[in-house]
């Protein structure tokens, strides 16, 4: 099943986030809890973990892109 990975709302009032680095590559298999990408906010860099296991099938945002909260940044092919 194809699943979208979204830009999370890391803090109250957050509308956009800068995807500062990918931690995976397209086609790579990830397990639940693996770090997918990093988002920089005013305070820290948050390492965003996968909620499900699967294969990262495509990136929808590049490093350095500013992405609105709730918008997809990648797709994940899961087994369920």
């Amino acid at each position: 099943m194809k699943q979208q990975i979204l830009m999370p709302k890391l803090r109250p009032g957050m509308e956009k986030g800068v995807l500062c680095a990918w931690s995976v590559r397209p086609g790579e298999r990830v397990e639940k809890g693996d770090v997918l990408f990093e988002v920089e906010t005013d305070k820290v860099v948050s390492q965003i973990e996968a909620d499900d296991s699967g294969i990262v099938s495509g990136f929808l945002a590049d490093e350095g892109d500013e992405v609105a909260v709730g918008q997809p940044v990648a797709t994940l092919e899961t087994e369920q």
Binding site: P8, D42, D51
Partner: protein
């Protein structure tokens, strides 16, 4: 945006955050984790720990370092003590940490409500230890007595910064008053632990930090937390520096050398971060049961 040092990386799991956030919503509760935009929220929520923030989500003070919003305070929710206890039970907390916004509008500063929450947790979760992280209650000893009568295991009141920066960072607080809270709590209840914390990165010097430690230690305070100030937004107090992990090690060693029983000093240490470990460490050292 200025690049963050390599040591300011945290993990974030949306599923874990959503799970705890939903529980809090269902019980009409706030956490300081969310309201203060704590960087450790991902780690703590994944471990099923949270710090309750009672008495509403709007503070009557406007400290320059804090992300909690200042505004008209909420009506005190009479169901809140029972709901905090329900959440503590649902999360199976071994150690519950309860803080609040500052409520200068209430005659007792919210002390009776704090005491009600402590008692409700004790009743619902008999094995759970309770730590209160209180505002200064305007330094009123009667209000402090009300909180202390509920016998929290730890009474925490944060100094937040050195004396020299109070006017700029905590303009509505007073250095001597905050020390007085810690001093009175220890004098009134010598058997309960007192705890405080401060931030570095606001422009303080090492000499000022040393004097702050001395002043706090003179109140009889047991536990100290030291963490990096992280500016919540460009509207907040400017960041003067990022202290390195080695700086934090140095501050910890200095504080232990001065005589604190337990010190948590790290860039992402916060007053309630791994609070249970601090309590257990001090009790183990003094031979008291957990």
């Amino acid at each position: 945006m200025e690049r963050k040092p390599a040591w300011l990386k945290v993990s974030y799991n949306q599923g874990a955050v959503d799970e705890i956030a939903q529980l809090m919503r269902e019980l009409n509760l706030n956490t300081v984790c969310r309201e203060a935009d704590c960087p450790n929220i991902g780690e703590c929520y994944r471990k099923h720990t949270a710090t309750f923030m009672i008495l509403g989500s709007r503070c009557t003070r406007n400290c320059r370092f804090c992300n909690v919003r200042c505004g008209a305070p909420a009506e005190v929710d009479p169901e809140e003590p029972a709901n905090v206890a329900r959440a503590a039970k649902a999360l199976r907390l071994r150690h519950a940490v309860v803080t609040s916004v500052t409520r200068d509008d209430l005659p007792d500063g919210g002390a009776a409500h704090f005491a009600g929450v402590v008692r409700a947790i004790r009743e619902a979760c008999p094995g759970t230890t309770v730590e209160v992280l209180i505002p200064d209650l305007k330094g009123d000893e009667k209000s402090l007595d009300i909180v202390l009568a509920a016998r929290p295991d730890v009474l925490n009141h944060n100094m937040e910064t050195v004396r020299e920066l109070y006017a700029a960072v905590r303009p509505e607080a007073a250095y001597a008053r905050s020390l007085g809270v810690l001093r009175y709590a220890k004098k009134a209840r010598p058997d309960s632990l007192t705890k405080t914390g401060f931030m570095v990165g606001l422009g303080e010097t090492d000499d000022q930090i040393g004097r702050l430690m001395d002043d706090v230690l003179a109140t009889g305070c047991d536990i100290l937390t030291i963490g990096q100030y992280l500016r919540p937004s460009p509207e907040h107090a400017p960041l003067a520096r990022y202290a390195t992990p080695e700086d934090f090690d140095r501050y910890r060693d200095l504080a232990l050398q001065k005589g604190f029983k337990h010190v948590a000093s790290a860039p992402l240490a916060r007053s309630s971060y791994r609070a249970h470990e601090a309590l257990e460490a001090v009790r183990a050292e003094s031979g008291r049961p957990s």
